[in-house]
Amino acid sequence: MLKYIVKRLAMGVVTMFFLITITFWLTRLMPGSPFATDNISPSVLAALEANYGLDKPIDQQFVIYLQSLLQGNLGVSYTRTGVTVNDLIAQGFPVTLKLGLISFAIALVIGTVIGIWMSTTKSSAVKGWLITGSTLFISIPGFVLAIVLLMVFGQGLKVLPVLFDGSFLSYIMPVLALAVYPIAQISRLVHASYTEAMNQDYVVMARAKGLGKRRIQLLHILKNAMLPLITVCGPMIAFQITGSFVVESIFTIPGIGEEFVNSVNSRDYTVIMGLTIFLGGVIIITNLLSDLACALVDPRIKLDKAS
């Protein structure tokens, strides 16, 4: 197990190197400069760029960047003087992480319950409505839902705060906007795998032993049905954390999603790089965690032998 984790982390480092290289060159390929504005003289621009080392050849810049990265230094923001990228992440990430994890946890519980309900209900009307609902919500983008929620609960009924201030009430709408898509996705996934597991032979045997319905459903069937879900949980958590950009800016939540969008607009190279590297790391780690969880649930998966 430990050997496997070390191996995966080593592979992660290689992945990160490619990510860094590609992002670095891509940001430099973007037209414009972080300091370019309409009324800046070429000499001032050149002086500013020289100040930040942007006058050096690009390959040299890349080596310098890698050196400072190895020391854990993601550099300073070009557009906001005196602010380091490390600070930006340290401030914004806890908010983004909290939002992402809360919405994912809610989606996991509700999605699983709805999925089981879809599989076990005897009423074809209920099943039809649940499937229609999940298809509908899987196709509504989070930002559309966020705006609708804002209009109804923030503007119309005035029961929830429009601006995010960190209070419990102000979490409700963003969490809801972020959770609806994964709820629909998880419920469809659980529905499919649960229905499959329900019709397996071991369920007949469990019934033949005289076990109660609850034990069969929650242990025998669900444990098998969760396997496909756990596999996709890693990428889904990563998506929940990284995919909240738009929702964050709609609700003016001071997370890293908003920083990301701003940094691309202002060509703030170091911030783009820093956030890309950071989120790449998050994705690599959540993927590893979900694979480990899979092995924990399914004894047949032998991590050391695989890959």
Partner: protein
Amino acid sequence: MPLLEIRNLCVEFKTRGGVVKAVRGVSYSVEEGELLGVVGESGSGKSVGMLAVMGLLASNGHIASGQILFDGEDISPLAPAFAGNPKAYEEKMKGIRGNRIGMIFQDPMTFLNPVLRVGTQLTEGILCHEKCSREEAKNRAISLMKQVGIPSAEERFRQYPFEFSGGMRQRIVIASALACRPRLIIADEPTTALDVTVQAQILELLRDIAREQNTAVIMITHDLGVVAQLCERVNIMYAGQIVERGTLDEIFYDPRHPYTRGLLRSVCTHGEAGRQGLSSIPGTPPDLLKLNTGCAFMPRCAQAMKICRDYMPVPHAFSSSHCDVCWNDCREAADRVTAQESEG
């Protein structure tokens, strides 16, 4: 009083093509400690009948009519005691399944839950039927594993099904069926998925257990060799009906029904008899959606008469234990029916 008595059981499945009558009026009984074989081809209704007894039919199947008397008590969902109350039936069956009737399944690869430890799967049955601690259940499970011949049971208790070989898994399935010392074991082709040497071991194990604990066994199989090794009485089934029943000797040495004879001729033997070559029954089992009104075996039968097509044959007894259902064995009745028909 027989341990299990089935009276005129009919089981139907609703399918897209129409209603399939998988079991059509089957009656038989099993005595305490008796070893009964139920033989038939795939689709003859032998397994479905047993699943109906256990109340484990797939959701599109149901018992259309008949009684299932276990220990003198009707445990069919149609019994007056459960009339219109499926919950009461389910409650009743929960107390019987795994407790008083144990079931052994065909394929130990798919009938054990792949993600649960073998120990968990053995103890859960004990814990749900008997008031005992986890520790006691564990000790019981380990001694069961030893009883069915699993070496180093304490270690194996903590393992998962995929760590067992096919024969060992089938032993686990048997141990699970034995867990609460049931009075009846229904074994649904328990040796089909195993290789021949393991088959013999499993059959021996079943016979020893049945003798030791005076447990009745219903062995469902299509393998006459299995029946010859294990059973005392045999029912031959075809297209959802019992076509012949008798003791082992009566069926093997004095088969009467053309289908039974065909089955026996298609068994591979060595020595003098084997040199005559292997014969098979021509044709295929009937489509249960399109049965004629007469004998279901008629289209494949070498001795079929005109009457067989339109009229269901009546049972004919050769001894107190041996009877079959064929017009050839009750010619008088056949003549009467033919005479009546020509008059009318």
